[in-house]
């Protein structure tokens, strides 16, 4: 799966995106975040569990308990401030 980052999350992680092989136990968006915190210290530091952020699977905004299904791309970003 490709994980993409935006705005301050992208800046603080110092990466736009990353390719990630997910174990079978990772089933939802929240599971991906938990997995990343486990394997990546920087990620755990920048996005601790209490962080307020939003997520999209293949361009669709989703809740954190949404199953990944066959999505190829997960985007993680702060609450939006357009307009």
């Amino acid at each position: 799966m490709i994980i993409r980052y935006f705005a301050w999350i992208r800046e603080r992680l110092n990466r736009d995106e990353q390719q990630l092989e997910l174990p079978d136990s990772v089933k939802t968006v929240q599971d991906v975040l938990h997995h990343l915190r486990t394997i990546d210290e920087d990620f755990a530091f920048v996005l601790p569990p209490e962080t307020v952020f939003r997520a999209a699977l293949d361009d669709e905004l989703v809740e954190l308990d949404t199953p990944l299904g066959s999505a190829k791309e997960l985007s993680i970003f702060p609450p939006m401030t357009g307009g």
Binding site: R4, F6, A7, D59, L61, P79, M80, T81, G82, G83
Partner: protein
């Protein structure tokens, strides 16, 4: 004709030219509501520039969705949204929504609806550049509350 047009671009646009072009081909329209969002600077915290980051594919899809919903909900004749990204100066337009309908209320509601949803659910992030450096703008609870009125 139920035209929906969504453009996401870096280039600056002329607010007046856009609305003149928009209204040219809709003879049934009795009303057009136009909202233009601008880069603003506060006296107590002046900014030099605004940088807008976006998620291109998702932004396009989300705004097209809100535009379609507005057309269906308010029976609009046409709607056009132009949203910029990248760096812009104080006073420049960021976004423009134009809604055309037979009568005025639908046009007002259509433009309002799209802006309320766009604020919280279209993937854009503002970064203000001031004298003391750049910082990301925080989302406002008021914006989250504004869209709730459409779901009641």
């Amino acid at each position: 004709m139920m035209g929906i047009s969504v453009t996401i671009q870096a280039a600056i646009f002329d607010a007046g030219d856009l609305v003149n072009q928009f209204t040219r081909d809709i003879p049934e329209a009795g009303a057009v509501a136009t909202f233009t969002g601008l880069v603003r600077s506060k006296p107590e915290q002046p900014i030099k520039a605004l940088i807008l980051e976006h998620h291109p594919t998702m932004a396009q899809k989300q705004i097209e969705r809100f535009a379609q919903e507005a057309v269906d909900k308010f029976d609009l004749l046409a709607i056009q949204v132009v949203h910029r990204f990248g760096e812009m100066k104080v006073g420049e337009p960021i976004v423009q929504v134009m809604a055309a309908s037979s009568h005025r209320q639908a046009a007002f509601d259509g433009a309002n609806y799209v802006m309320d949803w766009l604020k919280t659910d279209a993937p854009f992030w503002k970064k203000e550049v001031g004298a003391d450096g750049a910082h990301w703008v925080e989302a406002r609870d008021k914006d989250e509350a504004a869209k709730d009125k459409w779901t009641k």
